[in-house]
C-alpha cells in the first residue's frame, strides 16, 4: 500500500477543531463519524448497565424459591425490558458504534455518506430509550409480555404497551436510516484501490448486516403496527375473537427475529476476523470463503424462522423443512470457526486482552452454536421449548458471543480511538473475571432447563434451587466485573500511556497503516490511494 495522500500535518493542526460548537452542543450537532461512533458506544454501555441492573433484579429474585423481592407483574416487566433494552439498546447500538468509527477509516472514506442523517440516526435512540423507561411509570406499568411482544397478550396490555410500540418504531427507523448510510458509504465511498474483495472482513460483515436490517426491520415495524391497530383501531390481525390469528404474529415476528440474531452475530464475527489475524501475525485464512459464508448465513437466516415455534402445531413437513434449514446454518458457521482456528494455526500467537476475548468468543459462541443445533431438532425442542435450556443457549450466543466480541473490539481499537493504551493487566483481569462468572451464570442454566425449569417465572420448585443459586452468584459476579471494564476504559482515556500509530504488530488494515494515532478529527481530507 502506498503512503497516505492526505497531509497529516495539516490534519493534525485541525485536531482540536470540532466544528462550530463546543461542550454539549458539539455532541448534539456533530456530524463527524467518530463523534457519532463514540455516542453510540457510550449510549450502548449505559443501556448495558440499565439492562444489566434488570438482569440482577431477575437473578436476585430467583436466588431462592418463593417470592422474595418483587411481585410477579414487576418480574415480568423486568424480563421484557431486560430483553428489549439489551437487544435494541445495548448490543445493536454497540456494533453500529463500531461501524461508525471503523468503516470510513477502513475503506479510506472521509466520513459516512450522509453525515446529518447519521446524527439523526443516533439521536433517535435516546427518545426511544426514554419511552421504554417512561413505560414503567404509566398506569399498568411496562409491558410484561416478553421481549417478543407476542399477541394476544400485547392486545390486552395498558398504555405502557403503546409506548413500547412507539419505541420499537423509532428504534427501527434509526436502524433503517443507519443501514442505508452504511450501505451507501461502503458501495460509493471506498478509496481508489479498495475493491470489494479487498475490504476488511469487518466491513464485509457490516455490508451484509445492513442489508439484513433493511429487509427485516420493516417487518418488525409491520408486526407492531398491526398490534397497534388491533389495540386501538378495531382490526383483528392477531385477535382470535375477531377472526384473527395470534400465531400469525409469531410468524411475522420471527421472520424478523431470526435474522436479528445474525444482525447481532455477523458484526461480532467481523470484529473477531480483525482481531485473530492481528494477534496471530498471519493473514486471515480463507478470506473469500469467509465472505461467502457470511452471505450464506444471512440468506439462510430468512428460511429458518419457524424453528422458534415448533410447538404451535405446525405440520410435520413444516417441522422437517425448518429443522433441515436450521441445521444447514451450521455449515457456513463451521467454515468461519474452522478459518479462525486455521488462522491461529502455526501463527506467532500472543494473548493480549483483545485476543483473550476473541479466543473466549470462539469457545463460548461455538458452545452456544452447538446447543442451537440441539434445539433445531424439532423432537428435542418440543421438550425444551420455553425452558432455561433455551435461555442458556441464546445467552451463550447473544450475550456472551456478542459481548465478548464487543470487548475484543473495544480493547483492540481503543488505542486508535483515544490515542492511549489501556492497562493490560487490568484488561486481562476483566477478561478472566468475565469468562469465569459468565459461565457460572449461564452454564448451569442448561441443567435447570434439562430438568424442566420454565423461563419467565419468578418462583420455582425446590428441586431447581441449587442451579439457580449458582446462576445468581455468577450473574452478580459478571455484573460487578463490568465496573472494572468501565474503570479500565476511563483510566486509559484520562491517564493511559500514549499509543503509537500501530500498537499491534500484526494489524494491517488501513486505519493502522494510513492514519496516525489518535486519528485526526477529519479522517481523510483526500482519499488515500491503496495499491
Amino acid at each position: 500500500m502506498s503512503a497516505v495522500v492526505d497531509s497529516h500535518g495539516h490534519a493534525g493542526e485541525q485536531h482540536d477543531h470540532h466544528g462550530g460548537y463546543s461542550g454539549i452542543m458539539r455532541w448534539i450537532t456533530t456530524t463527524n463519524h467518530k463523534d457519532i461512533g463514540t455516542l453510540y458506544l457510550w449510549f450502548s454501555f449505559i443501556m448495558f448497565m440499565v439492562g444489566g441492573v434488570m438482569a440482577l433484579v431477575i437473578r436476585t429474585e430467583l436466588y431462592s424459591p418463593g417470592l422474595q423481592w418483587v411481585d410477579p407483574d414487576f418480574f415480568n416487566q423486568m424480563t421484557t425490558m431486560h430483553g428489549l433494552i439489551m437487544v435494541f439498546g445495548a448490543i445493536m447500538p454497540a456494533f453500529v458504534g463500531f461501524a461508525n468509527w471503523q468503516i470510513p477509516m477502513m475503506i479510506g472514506a472521509a466520513d459516512m455518506a450522509f453525515a446529518r442523517l447519521n446524527n439523526w440516526s443516533f439521536w433517535l435512540l435516546p427518545f426511544a430509550a426514554s419511552l421504554l423507561v417512561i413505560s414503567f411509570f404509566v398506569p399498568g406499568g411496562a409491558p410484561g409480555v416478553g421481549w417478543t411482544l407476542y399477541a394476544p397478550l400485547t392486545v390486552q396490555m395498558g398504555i405502557g404497551m403503546d409506548l413500547t410500540i412507539f419505541a420499537v418504531h423509532i428504534l427501527g427507523m434509526s436502524s433503517i436510516l443507519g443501514s442505508i448510510n452504511i450501505i451507501t458509504t461502503i458501495i460509493n465511498l471506498r478509496a481508489p484501490g479498495m475493491g470489494l474483495m479487498r475490504m476488511p472482513l469487518f466491513v464485509w460483515t457490516w455490508l451484509i448486516t445492513a442489508y439484513l436490517l433493511l429487509a427485516t426491520m420493516p417487518v418488525l415495524a409491520g408486526a407492531v403496527t398491526m398490534t397497534l391497530t388491533d389495540r386501538h383501531f378495531g382490526t383483528s390481525f392477531f385477535n382470535a375473537a375477531g377472526g384473527g390469528d395470534p400465531v400469525l404474529y409469531q410468524h411475522i415476528f420471527w421472520f424478523f427475529g431470526h435474522p436479528e440474531v445474525y444482525i447481532i452475530a455477523l458484526p461480532a464475527f467481523g470484529v473477531i476476523s480483525q482481531v485473530i489475524p492481528a494477534f496471530s501475525r498471519k493473514p486471515l485464512f480463507g478470506y473469500a470463503s469467509m465472505v461467502y459464508a457470511t452471505a450464506a448465513i444471512a440468506i439462510l437466516s430468512f428460511i429458518v424462522w419457524a424453528h422458534h415455534m415448533y410447538t404451535v402445531g405446525m405440520p410435520v413437513t413444516g417441522q422437517l423443512f425448518f429443522m433441515y434449514a436450521t441445521t444447514l446454518i451450521a455449515i457456513p458457521t463451521g467454515v468461519k470457526v474452522f478459518n479462525w482456528a486455521a488462522t491461529m494455526w502455526k501463527g506467532s500467537l500472543s494473548f493480549e486482552t483483545p485476543m483473550l476475548f476473541a479466543v473466549g468468543f470462539l469457545f463460548l459462541f461455538t458452545l452456544g452454536g452447538f446447543t442451537g443445533l440441539v434445539l433445531s431438532l424439532a423432537a428435542v425442542d418440543i421438550q425444551l421449548h420455553d425452558t432455561y435450556y433455551v435461555v442458556a443457549h441464546f445467552h451463550y450466543v447473544m450475550a456472551i458471543g456478542a459481548l465478548f466480541a464487543g470487548f475484543a473490539g473495544v480493547y483492540f481499537w481503543l488505542p486508535k480511538w483515544t490515542g492511549r493504551r489501556y492497562d493490560e493487566t487490568l484488561g486481562k483481569w476483566h477478561f478472566w473475571l468475565s469468562a469465569i462468572f459468565v459461565n457460572v451464570a449461564f452454564f448451569v442454566q442448561h441443567f435447570a432447563g434439562l430438568a424442566g425449569m420454565p423461563r419467565r417465572i419468578p418462583d420455582y420448585p425446590l428441586m431447581f434451587e441449587t442451579w439457580n443459586k449458582i446462576s445468581s452468584i455468577g450473574a452478580w459476579g459478571f455484573g460487578l466485573s463490568q465496573l472494572l471494564f468501565l474503570y479500565v476504559v476511563l483510566k486509559a482515556i484520562r491517564s493511559g500511556e500514549k499509543a503509537p500509530q500501530k500498537p499491534w504488530e500484526g494489524a494491517d488494515s488501513v486505519e493502522w497503516t494510513h492514519l496516525p494515532t489518535p486519528v485526526p478529527y477529519h479522517t481523510f481530507e483526500t482519499p488515500p490511494v491503496l495499491k
Binding site: 451507501t184 460509493n188 429487509a215 420493516p218 415495524a221 398491526m226
Partner: protein, 32 residues
C-alpha cells in the same frame, strides 16, 4: 441527483415497500 442519493432512495424504497407489503398483505388482501 448524486450517486449517494440515488443509492439511498433505492434502499429506502426497499424498506418502505417491505413495510407496506407486510401490512397490506394481511389487511387489504386479508392474508390470501
Amino acid at each position: 441527483m448524486s450517486r449517494n442519493l440515488k443509492t439511498a432512495l433505492v434502499l429506502a424504497s426497499i424498506a418502505l415497500t417491505t413495510f407496506a407489503g407486510i401490512v397490506a398483505k394481511y389487511w387489504i388482501l386479508n392474508g390470501s
